[in-house]
Amino acid sequence: MIYQDSKPILQVHGLCATVNGIEILKDLDFTVKSGEVHAIMGPNGSGKSTFAKVLAGHTAYEVTAGSVLFEGKNLFELEPDERARAGVFLAFQYPIEIPGVANSQFLRLSYNTVQAQRGHEELDPLEFDDFVREKMKLLEMSPNFLDRSVNEGFSGGEKKRNEILQMALLDPRLAILDETDSGLDIDALRVVAEGVNQLATKDNAIILVTHYQRLLNYIVPDFVHVMEAGRIIKTGGKELAVELESRGYDWVGVENNATMALS
């Protein structure tokens, strides 16, 4: 939701990034204020996921120009784990399986690490168990998922729920959801979206990276951005997503090119 006088959480200016020497992000500008929900849409290969990973600090991506301020501070001075502890959260498109580590163990370790950073009390296993079970209800997850290895043998939908569970536990200032909707059936999509909606507050912000408009029926964005060839070529309200769905991405590209030609 757009609030008056809300503070900027993320300010991206002229961001360029490469993978294996190939430029993926080209002069990207983007601003997110607290309370807002932004959707970034675009065809495959437009740079959406790269942008998400650059924000989280994946080492495979090299930032070659531009700046990103997170709550006014230079994000690139922070390691990925420091970003997480500072309040940046990335829900992965393909969450990693970690056989041998119980989900409960991983969630508690992660939760306590972030809590400690914020000067909050850490929870022992019993306290954490109560706490996490409460959060799992939000996502209609069975407590069985606590005893299983992290993401191992989880279905696509279960993995995505587990990602949003982590978001619920870590209470980030900025959550980036990278194609959280892909591969979900409609029931799972609804549960995940409702979970995200309940986590949205006026103090945090959410970036939805998605390929499809479907998710945006459930999580209503304040802004929709269309990304192509590494930059944002169009920004609008939630109605833009509907238009994209019916007219396709080519339409934006054409219109944008036409606008550029006219100006």
Binding site: E79, D81, I98, F106, L109
Partner: protein, 443 residues
């Protein structure tokens, strides 16, 4: 005239030293035992210690062992239960303890009743003569295996477990082998017979008395284990090798699976300067086995695991996951052979060797081998060697964990996948802790 002298004699004295120390063993009431000993002594005249020119030893150089002067362990120090109670596995209500290979009745809690026999050979040789004669020395081949021959030549105390027909043992049995003396060879020997329809869990546990002190000196453990599963029997076999970091550990285990029997093995190698474990499993019709292994070593350790899964008859199922974690300049070796004999149709076999190298100096040799002589089978095998996956590290860091915590957690998890398969809770917990400590200390 120097022809004879120029024949290479790789033993370089070690075998001779050991054989010179061969005590006049007390004659066994079982003629088979006496005959096996005599035959093994004869074979040792012909056999020599392996070199890297032997195909089966091409990755493992045992010359550090050959430089030692070792004598057979003729007696063992007297230990009190308090000295070793920390090795006891609480679930195991029956336990046999061997100190330097010599049975320690005062530390053991044997069983010999209608349900099960867990005893040293001498005590049951008469009462179980038929069972023992039927199986002893018939599964572990020693005629071309110098270490098995050496073990057989020194045959004396033997851990014997017999689970009678249709008896299900709820509690595991612990066979605890404690090394205490330097510069000795100990000769552990086990025979496990699971009669038709029976079930048992056997923990074969090789430990060192103290983790400091004399363990800076070497010794050799040279073990042989035979496990027989009659039709429909189920055996869980957990083998833990946590000897001193200067010791040498060589073991041969032969498992024979009867029709529709099920053998589940988890072997964990943590200790020894050089260790070698040969596990040979033969499956009859419809038998199933799972062979899981973890070698977790560092510094200059070498851990070599050779397995052979022999599908001799149709409808057998085998699963194998062998994992190695090598730090320092350690060297891990895995040679996993899967044989499917002609006629062993509908065999279903999956084998995987996964290796994690923590340093640039650590080394792995892995060799999965399929030998298939039947035409209607499903066999898969594969091997991976690598370092920690950057995407996995990133995933954990993106959840706030520091680089070092993320790396040690992933390394731990890599090993814990095998430890998780141990069906004895306290042992699983204990080994998980050891794996956690070792993996965190190396990163």
């Amino acid at each position: 005239m120097n022809t004879l002298a120029s024949i290479p004699s790789p033993p370089a004295g070690l075998l001779e030293t050991m054989l010179l120390g061969l005590p006049p063993l007390q004659s066994s009431p079982l003629p088979r035992i006496n005959a096996l000993r005599a035959e093994a002594v004869n074979r040792l005249d012909v056999l020599s210690l392996p070199t890297r020119r032997d195909e089966e030893w091409r990755f493992t150089d045992i010359s550090p062992l050959k430089q030692l002067s070792l004598a057979p362990a003729l007696s063992a120090p007297h230990l009190e239960a308090a000295d070793i109670a920390h090795f006891y596995i609480e679930e195991a209500t029956t336990r046999l303890v061997f100190v330097d290979g010599i049975h320690a009745p005062q530390l053991s809690s044997a069983a010999s009743n209608g349900d099960v026999t867990v005893s040293n050979l001498a005590a049951v040789a008469a009462s179980h003569a038929a069972r023992i004669e039927a199986h002893f020395g018939r599964h572990a081949e020693f005629r071309d295996n110098v270490f098995a021959a050496l073990n057989t030549a020194f045959l004396d105390d033997v851990a014997v477990i017999v689970v009678p027909r249709n008896v299900v043992l709820a509690e595991p049995v612990q066979l605890l082998f404690i090394a205490t003396q330097k510069e000795v060879v100990s000769t552990p020997r086990c025979l496990v017979v699971a009669e038709a329809g029976s079930e048992a869990t056997v923990i074969e546990d090789y430990v060192v008395l103290n983790q400091s002190g004399w363990q800076e000196e070497a010794h050799l453990t040279n073990a042989v284990t035979e496990i027989v599963l009659e039709d429909n029997a189920r055996v869980n076999h957990i083998r833990v090798q946590r000897e001193g970091k200067k010791s040498f550990h060589i073991a041969n285990c032969a498992v024979s699976l009867g029709r529709s029997s099920n053998y589940q093995s988890v072997s964990v190698a943590l200790g020894a300067r050089i260790s070698r474990y040969n596990l040979d499993v033969m499956l009859a019709e419809g038998a199933e086995c799972a062979l899981d292994g973890l070698a977790l070593i560092s510094a200059n350790q070498l851990a070599d695991t050779h397995t052979c899964i022999d599908h001799a008859q149709p409808h057998g199922v085998s699963r194998q996951l062998h994992k190695c974690i090598a730090g320092g300049s350690a060297h891990v070796v895995f040679n996993g052979k899967v044989k499917v004999r002609k006629g062993a149709q509908r065999t279903d076999s999956v084998q995987s060797s996964r290796n994690l190298l923590l340093t640039g100096k650590a080394h792995v040799d892995t060799k999965p081998q399929l030998e298939i002589f039947a035409d209607d089978v499903k066999c898969e095998h594969g091997a991976t060697i690598g370092q920690l996956d950057n995407d996995e590290v990133f995933y954990l860091k993106s959840r706030g964990l520091s680089d070092s915590v993320a790396r040690s957690l992933l390394t731990y998890a890599f090993g814990a996948e095998i430890i998780e398969r141990i069906p004895v809770a306290s042992l699983k917990q204990r080994l998980a802790q050891v794996v956690f400590e070792q993996t965190s200390s190396q990163l």
